[in-house]
C-alpha cells in the first residue's frame, strides 16, 4: 500500500472541459441548459411583450368573475351567477365523470371482448375481430359524432311520451326514460333527510356519508371476522363459517339506515317540455361516453388478447391436466398471469381515454375544455391564462392516473412473485 505512489496530481485546464470525458458531460449539460433556458426566456419575453402591447397582462382574477352561462350537465350546484372558477370546477368534474364511466365500460367490454376474441367460436371471434378492425381504424372524433347523432336520431323525443297513446314509453316500471335529450333515471331521495354539509367547494349529502360510513364499518368488521376465522382455523383446523355474518354486517346497517331515513326512488316524470326529476344523463354525455368506450374498447381487447396469448400454452395445458374447466382455467390460471402484461397497457388506454374526453367540446358536453377552454375563454378573452390552466389541470390528472395505476401495478407484481 504505502509503496504505491499517489497518482500525479492533475492540473485542471480549460481544454479539459471539452476533451476530458469526465468534464465534457458537465460542459454539454450547461450548454444545453443555457440553450433551453434562453429559448424559454425568448418565448416568455415575447409573450409578455405581446400581451402588454394588447393590454392583457397575465392575471387569473377573471376566474372570480360571474360566469353568466348555464351548464346543463353538472354534478355540483352551479348557476349562471356562479364564478368562472366554479364553472371550471363543474367542467373538471364532468371530465372526470365521463373518463371514469368510459374507463369502467371499456374495461368490462374490453375484457369480455378479449376473451371472446380468443374463443373457439368462429363466428364470435370473427365478429370481435371485425369490430376491432372497424372501430380502431377510424378517428375517435368521427365515432363520437356518429354515436351522438345515432342516439339523437333513434331515441324518441320527450313529446313522444305524451298523450293518450304515446309512441314511446318508459322502461322498468316507468322509472327510466330514454329520450333523445338524454336518459332519465330515478334518483335516491329521502323523506326524512339529514341535510347536507358544506365542505367549501361543494355540498356533501349526509345521507350518503352515513351509508358510506356504515358500509366501511361493515367491511372492517368483516375483515376482522375473517381474520378471527383464520386464527381459529389455524388453531383447531375448523373454519367457522363467516359468509352470512359478514354479508349481514356489511348490508344490514346500511339498509336499516336507509329505511330510517325514508329512502325512496324519485322517478322522472314528464312535465312541460321535458322530463323532470331523477338523474339525467344528457345526450352529449351518452354520445361521448359511447364513442370513447367503443373506440377504446378495441385497444383494450387487443391488450387483453395479447396478454392472454403471451401466457405460456403449457399453463393452460397444465390446468387442463389438473381437470380445471375452461372457464376456471381462464379465471384462475390465465387471467392472473396475463394481468401483468395487460395492466400497463390498460393504464395507457385509461390515460388516452381521459385525454380523448376533451373532444367533448365538439359535441357540446360541458367538460373542462368546453367550460374553461371554451365559453369562459371566449367570454373573458383570457386565452393565455385559460389554456395554460387547462393544460396544467390535464397534466395533473394524467400524472395522478399514471402514478396511481403504477402503484397498483407494482402491488400486483409484488403479490404475484
Amino acid at each position: 500500500m504505502s509503496d504505491q505512489s499517489a497518482p500525479p496530481k492533475e492540473q485542471f485546464q480549460l481544454s479539459m472541459l471539452i476533451y476530458d470525458a469526465r468534464y465534457r458531460g458537465i460542459t454539454i449539460q450547461i450548454f444545453v441548459l443555457l440553450l433551453v433556458m434562453s429559448g424559454l426566456f425568448w418565448l416568455a419575453s415575447n409573450a409578455v411583450t405581446n400581451l402588454a402591447a394588447l393590454g392583457k397582462p397575465i392575471r387569473f382574477d377573471f376566474l372570480g368573475d360571474t360566469a353568466g352561462y348555464d351548464i346543463n350537465q353538472r354534478l355540483v350546484e352551479y348557476s349562471s351567477q356562479s364564478t368562472h372558477a366554479r364553472a371550471t370546477f363543474v367542467g373538471l368534474l364532468n371530465t372526470l365523470l365521463v373518463a371514469f364511466m368510459g374507463c369502467a365500460a371499456a374495461t368490462i367490454l374490453g375484457v369480455v371482448g378479449g376473451v371472446l376474441r380468443l374463443s373457439n367460436n368462429w363466428l364470435v371471434s370473427r365478429m370481435v375481430a371485425l369490430y376491432v378492425e372497424i372501430f380502431r381504424n377510424v378517428p375517435v372524433l368521427l365515432w363520437i359524432f356518429v354515436c351522438m347523432f345515432t342516439f339523437t336520431a333513434l331515441a324518441p323525443q320527450p313529446r313522444a311520451f305524451r298523450g293518450e297513446n304515446p309512441e314511446a314509453s318508459m322502461y322498468l316500471w316507468d322509472s327510466v326514460a330514454f329520450t333523445n335529450r338524454g336518459i332519465y333515471m330515478p334518483e335516491p331521495l329521502f323523506s326524512r333527510p339529514l341535510g347536507n354539509i358544506d365542505v367549501g367547494i361543494f355540498l356533501v349529502s349526509l345521507e350518503l356519508l352515513v351509508v358510506l360510513a356504515l358500509l366501511i364499518g361493515g367491511i372492517i368488521f368483516a375483515r376482522k371476522n375473517n381474520a378471527r376465522a383464520a386464527r381459529i382455523q389455524d388453531e383447531t383446523g375448523d373454519r367457522p363459517s363467516t359468509g352470512l355474518v359478514n354479508a349481514a354486517a356489511i348490508l344490514l346497517p346500511s339498509i336499516i339506515a336507509l329505511i330510517a331515513m325514508g329512502f325512496y326512488l324519485g322517478k322522472p316524470a314528464l312535465a312541460g317540455f321535458n322530463f323532470k326529476g331523477g338523474i339525467n344523463m344528457s345526450a352529449s354525455l351518452i354520445g361521448l361516453w359511447l364513442g370513447l368506450t367503443l373506440y377504446t374498447t378495441t385497444y383494450i381487447i387487443e391488450a387483453v388478447r395479447s396478454g392472454i396469448q403471451a401466457v405460456n400454452k403449457g399453463q393452460s395445458e397444465a390446468a387442463a391436466a389438473l381437470g380445471l374447466r375452461p372457464g376456471r382455467t381462464m379465471n384462475l390460471v390465465i387471467l392472473p398471469q396475463a394481468m401483468r402484461i395487460i395492466i400497463p397497457q390498460l393504464i395507457s388506454q385509461y390515460l388516452n381515454l381521459t385525454k380523448n374526453s376533451s373532444l367533448a367540446v365538439a359535441i357540446g358536453y360541458m367538460d373542462l375544455v368546453s367550460t374553461l377552454g371554451g365559453i369562459t375563454l371566449n367570454q373573458t378573452g383570457r386565452e393565455m391564462e385559460a389554456i395554460l390552466l387547462l393544460m396544467a389541470i390535464y397534466l395533473t390528472i394524467s400524472l395522478s392516473i399514471s402514478v396511481g395505476m403504477n402503484w397498483y401495478n407494482n402491488r400486483v407484481k409484488l403479490v404475484e412473485r
Binding site: I28, L43, M127, E133, N137, S398
Partner: protein, 437 residues
C-alpha cells in the same frame, strides 16, 4: 385361385369419418356449436349480424347516386320506392368527393391539380421503400431525400428553386459537418453545423434561389396554407409531423436514456408534459397562443402553427417508441461498442440506433396512424380537414341534413388508409422479428 371361403384378400378402404365431423357440418359443429353455451353465443351473434345487415343493406344499396340535392334525392326515393323510408343519398359523395379528398385547393377550386397531391403521396411511397425493404437499391435514398423537399413543393407550390435551394443548403451542411467532425468533437460539429445552416438560410437562401430560379424557371401555382384542406391536409399534417419529429424524437429518446442529469430531466419533462395533455389543448396553443410566443412580426398561418405543435406532440410519443427500441437492445451491444473504443456518438450512430430504430419502425407506423386519425381534431379550430369540409358541405342548402353519407364516406377513406397501414405494420413486425432474433 383358392377356394377358402372367407378370407379377405384385400384391404378395406378407409371408412369416411362420421358425417358430422367433416365438411361444413363438422366444421360448424366444432367451431360454432361445440357446447350449449357456444351454441347460444352463436345464435345471439348470428341474430345480431342478420339484424344489422337487414337494417343497413337496403339503406346502402338502394341509395341514389344521381341527384342534385338532398330534396332531389328524396323525390327520387318517393318516385322509386314510395315507402316513405329514407335511403342513402350517395349523390352528395359523387358531387363532393373531390373536395373531401383533395380539399378546396386541389379539388374544384383549381381543377386539374389533382396530380400534385397524388404524385406527392406516390413519392412518399417510393421514398419509404428503401427504409422498409433494406434489399432495394441504395439509390432510392436519393428519392427519400428528394421527397423531403419535393412533397412540400407539390403541396405548397411556388418556384422549384425554393426546395432545390433548401436541398442544396442541407447537402452543403452535411459536407460541412463531415469536414468539421474531423476537426472537433461530433457534438460540437453538430452545433456548429446547425448555426451554419441557420446563417445560410437567413442570408444565402434568397440569392441562391434567385440564381437557381434563373436556371430552372419551373413554377407551380402556389397554394396558401390555409387553403390546404380535405384528406390532403390530414396527410400533409401527418407526414410533416412524422418526418420532422423523427430527429427530435431520436434526440429526446437519447436524452431520456442519457446519464447526464440535466439532459435527462429536460427530455423526460418535455416528453411527460406533452404526453400528459390532450392534443386538442396543443392545437389551441397552436391556433390561439403561438402567436403570442413569437415576435409580432412573425407571420404564421394556422395550418403551419398546427403542424408545429402536432410535430412536437408526435415527437414526444415517438421518443417513447424509440426509447422502447433502445431498451430492447441487449446491453452487450453498448459494451461491445465501448470495447471497440467507439465514442458515444459513434456507438449510437453505428451500433445502437440502427438496431433500435429498426425495432421501432412498427411503433412509428402505428404512431403515424394515430397522428393521421388525430388530424380530425383540427376541425374543432375551424381548419378544413375532411370533417370540417363535411360541415361546410352540410351548411350548403343543397345538402343540408345529410349526416350519415358524409360520415360514412370519410370513415371509409380513413379506414382504408389506417387498415392498410396497420396491416403493413403487422407484416413489418413479423419480418423484423425474424431478422432480429
Amino acid at each position: 385361385m383358392s377356394d377358402i371361403g372367407y378370407v379377405r384378400t384385400e384391404m378395406l378402404g378407409q371408412l369416411p369419418p362420421p358425417g358430422n365431423t367433416v365438411g361444413i357440418v363438422g366444421w360448424m359443429r366444432s367451431n360454432l356449436f361445440s357446447s350449449v353455451s357456444n351454441t347460444i353465443l352463436t345464435l345471439i351473434a348470428a341474430a345480431f349480424v342478420v339484424n344489422l345487415l337487414f337494417s343497413m343493406i337496403p339503406w346502402i344499396f338502394l341509395g341514389v347516386w344521381n341527384a342534385d340535392s338532398l330534396s332531389h334525392c328524396r323525390e327520387i326515393f318517393d318516385a322509386k320506392y314510395g315507402d316513405g323510408r329514407e335511403y342513402a343519398c350517395w349523390a352528395v359523395v359523387r358531387d363532393r368527393w373531390d373536395q373531401i379528398i383533395f380539399g378546396y385547393s386541389f379539388g374544384n377550386l383549381n381543377e386539374g391539380l389533382y396530380w400534385r397531391p397524388i404524385l406527392g403521396v406516390l413519392l412518399i411511397f417510393v421514398s419509404i421503400t428503401p427504409i422498409l425493404f433494406p434489399n432495394t437499391s441504395r439509390w432510392l435514398y436519393v428519392a427519400t431525400f428528394a421527397t423531403l423537399f419535393l412533397y412540400p413543393w407539390l403541396i405548397w407550390g411556388g418556384a422549384l428553386a425554393g426546395p432545390v435551394t433548401a436541398a442544396l443548403i442541407f447537402i452543403a451542411g452535411y459536407f460541412a459537418f463531415r469536414a468539421l467532425a474531423k476537426a472537433m468533437l461530433p457534438s460540437f460539429a453538430l452545433g456548429a453545423t446547425i448555426v451554419l445552416l441557420a446563417v445560410a438560410f437567413l442570408y444565402l437562401q434568397a440569392p441562391i434561389s434567385s440564381v437557381i430560379a434563373a436556371i430552372l424557371p419551373i413554377e407551380l401555382q402556389p397554394v396558401a396554407s390555409r387553403e390546404i384542406s380535405g384528406f390532403v391536409l390530414s396527410i400533409t399534417i401527418g407526414v410533416v409531423a412524422i418526418v420532422v419529429s423523427l430527429p427530435i424524437a431520436i434526440l429526446l429518446a437519447l436524452g431520456r436514456q442519457s446519464d447526464l442529469l440535466i439532459v435527462n430531466k429536460l427530455s423526460t419533462g418535455f416528453i411527460e408534459i406533452i404526453r400528459g395533455v390532450p392534443l386538442i389543448t396543443l392545437i389551441f396553443v397552436a391556433t390561439v397562443l403561438l402567436k403570442y410566443f413569437l415576435p409580432s412580426s412573425f407571420d404564421l398561418d394556422p395550418v403551419l402553427a398546427v403542424m408545429i405543435l402536432v410535430t412536437l406532440f408526435t415527437a414526444a410519443y415517438i421518443a417513447e417508441v424509440i426509447r422502447g427500441g433502445l431498451a430492447a437492445l441487449s446491453k452487450g451491444q453498448k459494451e461491445a461498442a465501448d470495447s471497440l473504443g467507439l465514442n458515444y456518438w459513434q456507438a449510437q450512430r453505428l451500433i445502437i440506433l440502427p438496431q433500435a430504430l429498426k425495432i421501432s419502425i412498427p411503433g412509428i407506423v402505428s404512431n403515424f396512424i394515430s397522428v393521421f386519425k388525430d388530424t380530425t381534431l383540427v376541425s374543432i379550430v375551424a381548419l378544413n380537414d375532411p370533417l370540417g369540409i363535411s360541415d361546410s358541405i352540410r351548411s350548403n342548402s343543397d345538402w343540408n341534413g345529410i349526416v350519415w353519407e358524409l360520415y360514412g364516406f370519410i370513415a371509409l377513406v380513413f379506414w382504408i388508409f389506417c387498415f392498410g397501414m396497420s396491416r403493413y405494420s403487422l407484416y413489418l413486425e413479423r419480418k423484423l422479428r425474424t431478422d432480429h432474433r
